[in-house]
């Protein structure tokens, strides 16, 4: 199903000017696409929206690798829904439109957006009123003398919640199948701190042949999106994947940093289901 991605996203068709930086996440972008085109949210033309979504995030990788995973995750969800829509429905499936969960999320997110705008207005109103600027220091009872109610259980609970910060943010992608979008994430991640990576390195730890195919397709797609280029010095030699810098950017700066430290390709994806996240 992932092959459809490359075919269907014809560059000019239904072109929408979208500045990806304006959006706070994939749902925000999706909401924008639906609202601006006056689309019925209960009957989303999923193929069209998917194409537009992919087109909109095309430029994102180079500038904001950090946020890319979230957008790509949504892209994967859209592609999956699109595929499900094409499948003949069995009797058990019939009660749930493949788009239903997405619709719920969109409606809820829209509501949250509206509330956050209200909050923003309330914040602005409050900011126009000032409290007393100065109060002479008064003899206060030392904090240490006021009774403390916190218990050791609470401290211990907090201890259990301490998380070591992740060395780098990991993209969470649901690895249902070997999807091209997963491979796109893998490649972009690998190129986060280095300018080039060997194709073979991206396959380390993956047994199935399909991984190679999908990684290659992902490489081609990213090449098409002008995020990278592929280089092979002679036939059957190692295929190198190079990050394409923005035209104006100084390549030299980043060049040294990476050379040695290609992040282990297997680091991603993290199984999101394991964290109890609902499946899209």
């Amino acid at each position: 199903m992932d092959l459809t991605l490359a075919e269907k996203t014809a560059p000019r068709e239904g072109f929408l000017l979208v500045e990806i930086e304006r959006f706070q996440g994939p749902l925000d972008l999706l909401l924008h696409l639906i609202r601006t085109q006056d689309i019925d949210v209960f009957d989303i033309p999923i193929a069209r929206i998917t194409d537009q979504f992919l087109q909109a995030i095309r430029g994102i990788g180079a500038r904001d690798l950090d946020g890319a995973g979230e957008f790509l995750e949504m892209a994967a969800t859209l592609i999956r829904i699109k595929a499900q829509m094409l499948l003949p429905r069995t009797a058990e499936d019939e009660d749930e439109d493949p788009r239903a969960e997405l619709v719920r999320r969109l409606l809820e997110y829209e509501l949250i957006r509206e509330v956050s705008q209200r909050l923003s207005a309330a914040e602005a109103d409050r900011a126009r009123r000032f409290s007393k600027g100065f109060n002479p220091p008064r003899p206060r009872r030392p904090v240490a003398e006021t009774p403390l109610q916190s218990t050791w259980e609470e401290v211990f609970e907090a201890a259990l919640g301490v998380e070591m910060p992740e060395p780098q943010r990991q993209h969470r992608v649901t690895p249902h199948t070997i999807s091209m979008e997963d491979k796109v994430v893998l490649i972009l991640d690998s190129l986060r701190e280095t300018t080039r990576v060997e194709f073979s390195r991206l396959l380390l730890g993956f047994e199935e042949k399909l991984h190679g195919v999908m990684t290659f397709l992902a490489g081609l797609e990213l090449t098409r999106r002008r995020l990278l280029y592929l280089r092979q010095t002679k036939p059957f030699a190692e295929l190198w994947i190079y990050r394409r810098e923005d035209p104006g950017e100084d390549e030299a700066v980043e060049d040294e940093a990476g050379e040695e430290s290609v992040p282990a390709a297997q680091a991603q994806p993290v199984n999101r289901a394991a964290e109890g996240a609902p499946e899209a």
Binding site: V41, E108, E110, R118, A127, R129, F130, G133, R169
Partner: protein
């Protein structure tokens, strides 16, 4: 010394909203009712005399604040502290927590579609949210709720001040529902359910469980603010 003078002095010296009960601690002779009466008296006095400040009702309490009309004059001063504004992601995250508390990080991330760890830490450090419990699931995830400071920051009297989901003009909802079936009433459908049946003009239908919990009893007694 009149009751309203004492109340005024306490309000004047406080650096955060105080409840009537708290104010009453200033003197044995005062009780909550007297404090509230004194506040009504002071409000009228300030209005009559056209004071540049007024008594605002915030976070279930009272606080003297300048009237908004004077903001342009005050904003010019370095000596006047201005609270910093929250970012879009921070506001959205707060909105989710305000309506759905208590809830965990995973749920918040699902609603926004993006990671929330950084924003949550920031909001916690600004004391706008706090850990209010732990969930049942794997690893007993930490659950967040809004705080007293949250109400103060937005100048809200209570969580009831937030609009109910049905009251919000939500564009998408105007459309016809997707299907006859009950949308999955799982923990993640604050707006979804409400939206399925009710057009913007209608009265809210019988209140849906999760949507109504939009205003859960906030567990924040005035006296028990988090330290710091």
């Amino acid at each position: 010394m009149n009751a309203h003078q004492i109340v005024e002095a306490v309000l004047f010296a406080a650096d955060a909203p105080l409840t009537a009960d708290e104010i009453a601690r200033a003197d044995e002779s005062l009780d909550e009712d007297q404090v509230e009466q004194a506040i009504r008296y002071l409000k009228a006095e300030y209005d009559d005399a056209e004071r540049s400040f007024q008594i605002a009702e915030i976070a279930e309490g009272y606080q003297i604040l300048t009237r908004p009309e004077f903001a342009p004059y005050l904003e010019r001063f370095d000596n006047v502290a201005r609270p910093s504004r929250l970012s879009g992601p921070a506001l959205e995250t707060l909105a989710i927590i305000a309506y759905r508390q208590p809830l965990g990080r995973i749920e918040i991330e699902y609603v926004r579609g993006v990671g929330a760890a950084g924003v949550l830490k920031t909001l916690q450090d600004r004391e706008l949210i706090d850990v209010v419990g732990r969930g049942e699931g794997l690893g007993r995830p930490v659950l967040y709720g809004t705080t007293q400071k949250f109400l103060e920051h937005f100048g809200l009297k209570s969580l009831e001040d937030l609009p109910r989901p049905e009251e919000l003009p939500v564009v998408l909802r105007e459309r016809t529902p997707l299907g006859p079936e009950e949308p999955n009433a799982d923990q993640l459908s604050l707006g979804g359910e409400v939206s399925a049946e009710c057009g913007p003009g209608d009265e809210a239908p019988e209140v849906v469980e999760s949507g109504v919990e939009a205003h859960p009893a906030p567990e924040m007694e005035g006296g028990e603010r988090p330290t710091e």
